[in-house]
């Protein structure tokens, strides 16, 4: 079991390192509030979604959630939210509405945010929204209808105390210095800290100094960002090559895909930083990505033939990214780490951890195919489950229910 689940606070007073009083008073005194919604913003792993869940539970409100794994176009928003907002009083129970990751409304969710901003005004129930980033153009329509509230990174000491408690409960051997470094490396992201702790101690119930030292990649982030600046802003090919050689993280990810063909195991590789940030920096992304794509062909050859010498061409092709820019982008760009890592992209977790996988796995075993193939066939199963018995495949009641409810046709 994931410790992030196991040790999830279940009451407001258990939430640490975050000032949540304003959120509580907003929900409790909802009728007297000027704005009908609060937009909680801040970095990942600071408890934004958590507070909504905990509050609803504690106050006995029904939590109505719209997150990024749902379709969130105008129609969907109106049909989900619109109904909720009007019907609620009929049944008498109170509701809390959570709209998660509003900065992640994608282009496919046409008119979704606009619809949200209009529905808010009429809402009879408190609405909480979360976002990492609030400066986005597309979110300007929310400006006048919501109250902004910032969640700060969780203080080092709180992370430390929390990890310590987990260590005691899980009977994990550790020394305080290592645990402190681990807490610091998380950079205010409590979830990342817990995941790191679990990964490092899963095998032998002990936190080893060497393992913690290996983990200090986040610590190297400054070094990586400096290199990115050099590549994106200069054309000093020789200097860039030297810097790449000195880099403390690998150039390319040599692990296997861990989820689908998209998510690999080592998120801290130069290639991921480049791919993530090229479009934030360049106008002519095509040429830059062409170089990335050619470099990847060499990666394939390295993996297949174990011919490591090809790595120099990967390095050289990456350096050449500095040469293909038209004009230097003088703006100061904020660099991101890869969105392909579940750690940096909570949305990924929700996509991969869902019931779908359990179902695919069971059908796969039953019908002699791979779980991957079963996954692509789920739409069929969904339709079939409405007319045929699925019991003998070994699916649980609720899994069958989930299949039936999936809207396909």
């Amino acid at each position: 079991m994931l410790w992030t689940e196991k040790y999830r606070p279940s009451a407001v007073k258990q939430i640490r390192g975050q000032d949540v009083e304003r959120i509580c008073s907003f929900v409790l005194n909802y009728n007297r509030e000027k704005h009908k919604a609060i937009l909680i913003h801040g970095p990942t792993g600071t408890g934004k979604t958590l507070i909504a869940n905990v509050l609803a539970k504690e106050l006995g409100y029904e939590l109505r959630e719209i997150n990024s794994s749902d379709n969130r176009g105008k129609e969907e928003i109106v049909s989900v939210l619109g109904n909720t907002l009007n019907q609620g009083s009929l049944f008498g129970n109170k509701k809390l509405i959570l709209i998660d990751d509003v900065d992640a409304f994608s282009s496919g969710d046409r008119g979704g945010l606009k619809a949200v901003s209009e529905l808010i005004k009429e809402s009879r129930f408190p609405i909480l929204m979360t976002a990492n980033d609030v400066d986005l153009e597309k979110m300007s329509c929310l400006k006048n209808v919501v109250e902004y509230f910032e969640f700060k990174p969780i203080p080092l000491l709180d992370i430390f105390e929390f990890l310590k408690e987990i260590c005691h409960k899980e009977k994990i051997k550790y020394n305080e210095n290592d645990l402190r470094s681990l807490s610091r490396l998380a950079g205010g992201d409590l979830r990342a800290a817990i995941i790191d702790l679990q990964t490092l101690t899963e095998n032998d119930k002990e936190l080893k100094t060497s393992e913690v030292n290996n983990l200090d990649v986040r610590y190297h982030q400054e070094e990586i960002y400096n290199l990115l600046v050099k590549i994106f802003k200069t054309k000093e090919l020789k200097l860039i090559q030297e810097d790449i050689d000195r880099l403390n993280i690998p150039l390319i990810d040599m692990t296997k895909p861990s989820i689908s063909s998209v998510v690999f195991g080592n998120e801290n590789c130069l290639s991921y930083y480049l791919e993530e940030n090229i479009p934030r920096e360049y106008d002519n992304i095509n040429e830059a990505f062409d170089l990335m794509s050619r470099a990847d062909v060499f990666r394939g050859r390295i993996i297949r033939n174990q011919h490591w010498r090809y790595l120099v061409y990967v390095r050289d092709l990456y350096s050449c990214i500095s040469l293909v820019k038209d004009n230097r982008n003088i703006a100061n760009v904020k660099y991101h780490s890869t969105k392909r890592s579940p750690k940096n992209n909570f949305k990924l977790w929700s996509l991969v951890n869902r019931r779908r996988w359990g179902v695919a796995d069971k059908v796969a075993t039953h019908s002699h195919i791979s779980a991957w193939r079963a996954l692509t066939e789920i739409p069929y199963y969904s339709i079939i489950s409405r007319g045929f018995d699925f019991g003998e495949i070994g699916l649980e009641e609720e899994e069958i229910e989930w299949l039936r409810k999936k809207v396909i046709i």
Binding site: K256, S293, S367, H368, I369
Partner: protein, 312 residues
């Protein structure tokens, strides 16, 4: 109950459209002299079914599943798992009065070269106890030393006649009616993949006992993620970041591989609202990226390169 299992062939005679292969394998099984086998061919043409029939026939009267190890190479995470599981199974003698155990390794072309070399040793060392049946989509992805240790069988895509027979057998048995045009539609949309045909058919049967052409297209289009098209439109508009985000979601949500996506992109290009020159450029780029994807290693990166080119 899934029809794909209900109607999975139980005997050699049940397997359609692969007569010559079935004939040869049947002779081997009769002599109880089965070499290592390598089945290659597209999905849904009977590779797994034939392997299971081999096990049933070899172990007639015995508990056939006891002596069969079924593994799927694309699901097993590390080579170590495969190595250990396979070795442990192969090390011990077969149970009951049977000549050897059977190890069926599906999708074995997704094994790395390293893993294949490890496998080759195991195949040699435990020949007395166990025989391997490997199946793959592309025989070219299997290393030569394994080729040389196996009898190789190339499965052909099913002919329309075979599919008609199969469909009419099922429909008679299930009391549904399938229009002629619907059979054409099934054949068109399935690329000869019987497994998919049966899934589509069963889905249609839920909607209506009378299976029409429309019903089939409805089910098929419901099962095909429409989002790939949206990703393309987004890219053409020049919104690279949101196109990329969307693509990541689609691939995870539907469990698509990079090749699945590129196949669909290639089909969609013809329908996009772009001028001829752009369309030509897109087709060329699509081919180039598919090539690099096979040669390279990170499918999602290659797709990003393709989207970047479309953004131009």
């Amino acid at each position: 109950m899934l029809w794909t299992e209900k109607y999975r062939p139980k005997t050699f005679e049940d397997i359609k459209g692969q007569d010559r292969i079935v004939e040869r394998i049947k002779a081997m099984v009769k002599d109880k002299n089965v070499p290592h086998l390598l089945f290659s061919g597209p999905a849904g043409v009977g590779k797994t079914s034939l392997a299971l029939v081999v096990a049933r026939e070899l172990y007639k009267g015995e508990n056939w599943r006891e002596n069969l190890l079924e593994l799927n190479a694309s699901d097993e995470r590390g080579i170590d798992v495969i190595r250990n599981t396979i070795k442990d199974f192969a090390r011990t003698k077969a149970m009951g009065n049977v000549p050897f155990k059977l190890i069926y390794l599906d999708e074995s072309d997704s094994l790395t070269k390293e893993a294949q070399h490890a496998l080759r040793r195991t195949m040699e060392n435990f020949t007395n106890n166990a025989r391997f049946v490997l199946s793959c989509n592309y025989a070219s992805k299997i290393i030569d030393p394994i080729h040389s240790r196996c009898s190789i069988f190339n499965f052909k895509p099913l002919q329309k006649k075979d599919i008609e027979d199969y469909v009419s057998f099922i429909s008679k048995n299930e009391g549904i009616k399938v229009e002629n045009k619907a059979i054409d539609a099934l054949y068109e949309t399935s690329e000869g993949d019987l497994r998919r045909i049966v899934n589509i058919l069963q889905s249609c049967a839920v909607l209506n006992k009378n299976v029409t052409e429309e019903a089939i297209y409805k089910v098929v289009s419901a099962a095909r993620p429409k989002e790939v098209r949206l990703v393309l439109e987004e890219a053409i508009k020049g919104n690279f970041i949101s196109a990329r985000e969307r693509l990541l979601e689609v691939m995870l949500q539907h469990g698509l591989s990079g090749l699945d996506v590129i196949k669909q992109i290639q089909k969609e290009i013809i329908n996009l609202a772009v001028d001829d020159k752009k369309r030509m450029d897109m087709i060329e780029a699509c081919g180039e990226i598919e090539f690099r994807m096979v040669e390279g290693s990170d499918e999602f990166l290659q797709l990003q390169a393709l989207l970047a080119r479309f953004c131009k």
